[in-house]
Symmetry: C2
Subunit: 504 residues, 2 copies
Amino acid sequence: MSNAIPAAAKDQPDASSSSGSKSAVDLPAGTITVKSTFVSRLVSLLAIGLALSLIFNSQEDASLYDPLKACVGFSILAYLITVNLIPILAPEFVRVGFFGKDLGKKDRPVIAETMGAVCAVVYLVSMFFFIPFLFYKYYVTSTSGGGNREQGYDAAVELLHKGRALRMFPHSKLAEYLAALLSLFSMLVLGVADDLFDIRWRNKLFMPAIAALPMMFVYYVDFGVTRVVVPEFAYKVFFPESLAYPTTIDLGALYYVYMLSLAIFLPNSINILAGVNGLEAGQAFVIAIFLLLNDALYILPSRLFGLPEHPGTEAHLFSTYFTLPLVAVTLALLRFNWFPARVFVGDTYCYFAGMVLAQVGIVGHFAKTLMLFLVPQVFNFLYSAPQLFHLVDCPRHRLPKLNTETGLLEPSRVYFPTKPRKLQTLLLRTMSIFKLIHLEYDSKTGAIASASNMTLINLILTWTGPLREDRLALVLLLIQGFTCMVGLTARHTIAPIIFGRDNI
Amino acid sequence: MSNAIPAAAKDQPDASSSSGSKSAVDLPAGTITVKSTFVSRLVSLLAIGLALSLIFNSQEDASLYDPLKACVGFSILAYLITVNLIPILAPEFVRVGFFGKDLGKKDRPVIAETMGAVCAVVYLVSMFFFIPFLFYKYYVTSTSGGGNREQGYDAAVELLHKGRALRMFPHSKLAEYLAALLSLFSMLVLGVADDLFDIRWRNKLFMPAIAALPMMFVYYVDFGVTRVVVPEFAYKVFFPESLAYPTTIDLGALYYVYMLSLAIFLPNSINILAGVNGLEAGQAFVIAIFLLLNDALYILPSRLFGLPEHPGTEAHLFSTYFTLPLVAVTLALLRFNWFPARVFVGDTYCYFAGMVLAQVGIVGHFAKTLMLFLVPQVFNFLYSAPQLFHLVDCPRHRLPKLNTETGLLEPSRVYFPTKPRKLQTLLLRTMSIFKLIHLEYDSKTGAIASASNMTLINLILTWTGPLREDRLALVLLLIQGFTCMVGLTARHTIAPIIFGRDNI
């Protein structure tokens, strides 16, 4: 949730009230002014040309056709379309009730909400168009060359070839791809429904599990791999009497529970670590970049240096096809969502991006590696737990508070009008000792009067002191990037040692 | 489009203004009061029991498991869920801006719009849950009986069996199923977007084509059947020099154009033949029923009388799996959308239902038969064409007009302040001769002053005279049913004669 009033059309955006803003002319609320220069148009044209040449690479020989290049091409197009659509659609979104007030600014401007829906639609449509290119080599017969498909006396032979090529068509991969898109569509619908209706937590918490159903089924049918690699020492601890050391143990149904949990956790955790301009899209961007780096470690060695192909190449290519367009639309979104935000991303974006990341991890069978990239999210969730589960009071909004004099953000606080209970006091004092919380005491009774809210964002602010919104976002994203870097390094240096070998 | 003010949240629903309505107490706008009696609850419980027993039919032997029964079970559940969800969600929809005024009533009550979204979501979720049941027999190994899967020394053998069963898994069918669901999800998103933003015609006309892309691709890969049966005489007319009579001709790419046209035409045509309580859902219901009857003619003979299975059984089972849940959610919707409507269906419903019907025809490869069931839609489109393409003026709304004194609906009219051009006059007079339009003349100049609007609904009213809204809907649905009946009969009596044989 962005730092916005819920998008319910309770009060209409009132452009005239934002008298402090410069553009308080007659423009409809949510208008974004974009300068279009000659250079920017030229760059766009060149980018379109590049994208098309990548999409239609080496058509003359279908067997050489590279879907990865096409994916890069489609991502470029997706970026360009999103970056041009958002300014067009923002006022429309405000008009129909998707808007919020940016509480992190002095004049609390009304800006468009739920722009993640634009990203999601562009993403999905470009994935639709990508399908024939992804499977190009399977259904186009190799002809005598020059790209001309014989229509003459060779036609019958060609038909036979075609029949054969189609019989080899990887329907299971297609089903996988389609199931992944289905799950994403479900999340788009869920996200928009949440932005519209403000669905209650208990109702929406398990909805991603329904969205993940087709993917789970395809996983069951196609892989059925529920074995995970365990470190030798861990195995010896739990099964000391065992003589042989199996490199994997079968988690069975538990593995499906784990995958479902991931599908539930990821969208919601991105949705919780939010409320600062650019943070929702920024964290998804950073995680996606590291997923791509991880994929590259599998794909590139064989491509660039002619090394033998890693057995996981296929899965990591698949992961790239889903991650790259996400990076593209997210980058476009960030151009408008970065401080000072001109649009909000909405729950739609958080759910959608979270689900893309979750399913990339699931289908690519590197769900454990994915967790290494989610340290800030997991920390934020655990750290928030006392408030989420009402051990400590939880105010409706826990966003950092704007100090209107300095223009800087300060940690927001939860106040205790009555003296906290013993258990609460113990918890709060313990956290305070480890600098995990900032407490204020009642000057008379000495009881705890208030505490900083338990979110990673507030925690950073208690450590650094007040920050401007963009600096705060930057600090958070740097932490994300740093933990991801540590995770990626650990995955490819320490993990092989612990697990005895690299993952196959 | 229902006879509603566009759902844009320009003015808030004002429950107090509808002072004529009985429920003008303090209930939120859009509230639907549903009586829940002991009997109705008992019936619901029994229905749930029946549905579950159908879904989990003959579990002890996977090879006997019948997905058709499960489909009936899921449809019952879908009906029950929809019928209970609509009253809960209607006020919520009104709250966030999905509402319209029913112009066909004296007091123009404000009721919830876009209830088709509820139907679509229930439909899609039940299709999600149906997936494992549809493919049950392929991934469950046959065991020694009694439903217990051996875990003992047979486990290894079982695993082998399972591996084999999974290798036989019909991934192409799964891909087909998932692609169809993807197209439906796209239409849901498009429909909601249209209800929210009132997308312009030229922008939304071709969107169903994008939604149909995955389906087209799967069709291309799996069937690639672009040959259609042509009647012998037609073939002889066009190719008189040909000696042999090929039973089919290959339409090639044209067949894909035809399928795309169908995907564009059906959703839009249902959306055009609308504006009377119960008509949108009613027509989809009638068409779906006749599709089911057509399917039954292929499926039932072998099931009931032990006749050899028709080669088209598979395709028609597939069609049934998609049509039956549509019938269920539509029936639930009709309970609230029938005169006097307490909810509107929204563009969402029209698009969604239209796409279900279109893809059933496409994937089942009986797109021609489908056209036989669409006579009123095709007629309405052709009849509307002069106004749609602005040969004759087209007012913003062409809904029948309520005569507030009689309470009956009368044809709405298009007025000509200036004398119509010669071509227009010729067209209008010719139509008038064939009783296809009702004209009024200026008493002084003798020029055409006004004409009834060119929609099937207005045409019926010019023939029958003013009708109450529910009677009008009934007449239109009877016409739909009658033409469908004629079409179905023709399909199975005349068509085999014309085409020389029955379709395989």
